[in-house]
Amino acid sequence: MTSILIYSIAGALLFSVGMGGMFVCTHPFRKILAMNLAGSGVFLVFLAMAQRHPDTPPDPVPQALVLTGIVVAVSATAVALALSGRVIALANDHQPPERSHGAQECETE
């Protein structure tokens, strides 16, 4: 029971750390990393919940859900990385010479 408790708390903390990272970090890649951390926290809680008794084998339903979750998380990460790569490329393209400093504000909005 105790290790279930330990991993549940760790999962909750991980979720909060990831959630906070999504608020606080500015670089899009770091935001995506934070999203993955938060997701791992959720998985950890799920798996801790799957093992309801230390003696019996764990419940396979949460495990199957988490397996689905891992694969969906990697595909979501790929989409997010492609999107933010595009954002960065556009920001590079729109990097103006010093004169048009006002126009840049509108473009990055």
């Binding site: 105790t2 408790l5 999962g11 500015t26 495990q63 729109h94």
Partner: protein
């Protein structure tokens, strides 16, 4: 003995949280990504402790390996873009200005975000503590699946595979659809697909290592797929191994597969097509996604085999869509396309 194990659990949990904080606050983005890969591997150990070996396999291969490769790849192509920009600025006499990302709007992060997150954390921990301490109403279904003869009707003896492909097959079916949608979205957004690629010569050491390791990895993937019906393993783990093989081949100088090819498109959808065909075929004698009990084992293995091929293809496409590192042709070409906006910053929106 239990004391030592709990000490191990506590240390592992603390390390996980510490590395997570490190990922967010490491000075260098590269450092963050490497820490994240380490995080994934440690998480896999945590899942072994939670008796989820299926997931430990998947986490080590997908969560740590492939996700890390995706991040490193994205970081490399971003760096490549900004390097092009720097040389371009030097050529055209522009002073290198701030990195573009620092000009992205940083506002929108309210000051109360950090305390709110802290409160959220405390609330979550409290809620989960209550839910754990409270007596659990529903007993686990695992003993039933293991002892009942239900698992025989499920066709396979690995409970996770049985849940994935029989008892909750809807989830898996729709998951494959999600993956295909992700491929479409990535192909639509990816920057480097616009560039022309030329295969760059890899180092001979890497090339011969890849030639040695690729057959072995394909063999291990086939084994993991086959053993998945009765022990930890299965379609997703095998697909992750195959995808890692594909990534290795790309790193060694292979060209990423093109989705314009019909045969690659067939690879991408064959898993979903087979799954749907079996699901619809089940309607002849029963309901959607219901397998005839005597055939269930064979049908599940068939679905898993085609799913493995498709998911591996999908993961390779996700990686290949943005793969551009070590590609001198792409760099010069990107320099050409970047030249226009610099001289004319007003009318260049693609």
């Amino acid at each position: 003995m239990t004391g030592i194990l709990e000490l191990f659990d506590a240390t592992l949990a603390l390390t996980l949280v510490g590395i997570a904080v490190g990922v967010l606050f490491a000075r260098d983005l590269f450092q963050s990504i490497v820490l994240f890969i380490a995080f994934g591997l440690l998480l896999a150990i945590a899942w072994c402790r939670l008796q989820a070996v299926d997931l430990a396999l998947a986490e080590a291969a997908i969560g740590a390996g492939l996700t890390g490769a995706l991040f490193l790849n994205a970081l490399a192509s971003t760096k490549q873009n900004s390097d092009d920009r720097d040389t371009l600025n030097q050529q055209t006499g522009h002073r290198p200005s701030k990195p573009a990302l620092e000009r992205l709007p940083a506002r929108g992060i309210p000051r109360w975000a950090a305390p709110l997150t802290f409160l959220l954390a405390v609330g979550l921990v409290a809620a989960w503590l209550i839910s754990i301490v409270a007596p659990l109403a529903n007993p686990s279904v695992a003993p039933q699946i293991a002892e009942d003869k239900g698992i025989i009707q499920g066709g396979v003896t690995n409970p996770v595979t049985a849940v994935l492909l029989n008892f909750r097959a809807h989830d898996t079916l729709l998951e494959v659809v999600v993956l295909l949608v992700a491929v479409l979205a990535t192909l639509a957004f990816a920057v480097s697909t616009e560039r022309e690629r030329s295969a760059s010569p890899a180092s001979p050491v890497l090339a011969s290592f890849v030639a040695l390791i690729v057959p072995l990895m394909v063999l291990v993937a086939a084994y993991v797929l086959w053993i998945g019906t009765k022990a930890p393993g299965g379609a997703f783990q095998a697909a992750a191994l195959l995808a890692a093989t594909g990534v290795l081949i790309m790193v060694a100088g292979g060209r990423p597969p093109s989705c314009a090819l019909l045969r690659w498109r067939i690879v991408l959808v064959v898993g979903l097509a087979t799954f749907l065909a079996v699901a619809l075929g089940g309607m002849l004698g029963g309901r959607f996604l219901e397998y005839p009990p005597s055939w269930a084992g064979g049908l599940i293995l068939l679905i898993e085999a085609t799913l493995t091929v498709s998911i591996a293809g999908i993961l390779i496409t996700l990686f290949g869509a943005t793969w551009s590192a070590g590609d001198p042709g792409a760099a010069s070409h990107a320099g050409d396309t970047l030249a226009t906006p610099t001289t004319d910053p007003s009318g260049n929106t693609p």
